[in-house]
Symmetry: C2
Subunit: 222 residues, 2 copies
DNA sequence: TGACTTAGTGTCTAAACAACACTATAGTTC
DNA sequence: GAACTATAGTGTTGTTTAGACACTAAGTCA
């Protein structure tokens, strides 16, 4: 059943950079393309926007399909529309990025399901289309927001140590942070609290565990 | 000549919030709609993206058509795609905003040409479509960027006084600024310099004039 | 020449940020 | 059980930045 218009229309898709933390490293979810173009190459998950759904709803739908999660941090990133970015037809893509707490990652995607994989942002494969540019834009946005908001907490699991949190900040910012200054600052924000538990692992002093006080909030700081 | 696709495609447009300063007030350019829907109401200038042009090129084209200017600050803002935002068909719009130095405004739009007008952002008319939301988003972005960059200088003419510049900051931020602190801070950035001229107007001490050192640069500060 | 109006200038206090090193506590080894 | 190892945890000081605050300067005009 064909759809006909008086003048040409582009296709519109959403693509999502889905981040989480695995093995203390920032990871992004990629899909192995099963069809041409770029068959066999890795790409950001995405799909076409349905006519009756909003852009945000399309992004949520893609996120749910690929990871099984919903209700996590999801933000529109940028819209990419170079005329030749897809060799088949003109496709304009509205890119989003999502942050998933590392304990909410479904086994479906976490296990090495065929054609889906988590990749450390330090060791990315070749990407299809203009997805390298999209992913770079997402990482730049994330790095910028980490500086002036509490967005990084959206990646933390239900309980975590301050060392793990500092490690995330250091990865995103790509530079080391002083331990004492970091703890002073993050605790002064009053956005995390000690759970009272601690984690023992290895021949050294156990670390206190913390939780995010209000997961639904991302504060702008300063 | 109809264009046919196997599945439905939305239309894609760009809309631009074009800002300048007129009479010491932040102004935005609006177009009076000549056709339905929202005939006779004011709207942001915009149009459909051509199949062979990039999104940025479409925005530049619209900007040039409406104001006669090019080469000014132009940035993608956000993409709006609620399914019902246009009653005719599904239209997804990629919004941009532009900043025009107040001495580059062409008479065409500056004069009260039929169907085009500059409006103070303090006294806006009713707007068509979801353009109130788009314009609010643009003003929020501008206010945010003024805080941490030198973007405000993109609105200043070739020569201006520090009082005029401070006045712009106060309007965008919607709160008064201390004159001495403002001058200290802006001069310490080393992005403007005295022209050596001064402006005499009215029964009081003349004001020194300044110019932007490098118009093409927008620095992120701090 | 005095009144009026906007331009222009400096100091002090408080807060935020950056640099910096040692003690605590668990597990493991001998 | 003493010594070793590895990571957790903790304060102070100097520097920089931000904010509060009031008077003098230099034109025009009556």
């Amino acid at each position: 059943m064909p759809y006909t218009y008086d003048y040409p229309h582009p296709a519109v898709s959403v693509d999502i950079a889905i981040f989480t933390i695995r093995n203390d490293e920032l990871n992004v979810l990629l899909i192995k393309r099963a069809e041409a173009p770029f068959r066999g190459e890795w790409a950001l998950p995405g799909g076409f926007v349905q006519m009756q759904e909003s852009l945000g709803a399309a992004a949520e739908r893609e996120l749910l399909e690929e990871t099984g999660v919903s209700g996590v941090y999801l933000e529109q990133l940028y819209t990419f529309g170079q005329p030749d970015r897809d060799p088949r037809e003109r496709v304009i893509t509205v890119a989003y990025y999502a942050l998933i707490p590392s304990d909410q990652v479904e086994l479906r995607a976490a296990s090495d399901a065929e054609g889906v994989g988590w990749f450390s942002v330090e060791r990315l494969p070749e990407l299809a289309f203009d997805h390298p540019e999209i992913l770079e834009t997402a990482m730049d946005r994330l790095a910028a927001k980490v500086e002036y908001s509490t967005i990084a907490l959206q990646l933390m699991p239900a309980a975590f140590t301050l060392t793990e949190l500092q490690n995330l900040y250091e990865q995103v910012r790509r530079e080391p942070i002083d331990k004492r200054n970091f703890r002073k600052k993050i605790l002064a924000l009053d956005v995390i609290e000690a759970t009272g538990e601690e984690r023992r692992e290895g021949p050294h002093r156990p670390a206190k565990l913390y939780r995010v006080i209000d997961r639904s909030r991302v504060d702008v700081i300063k």
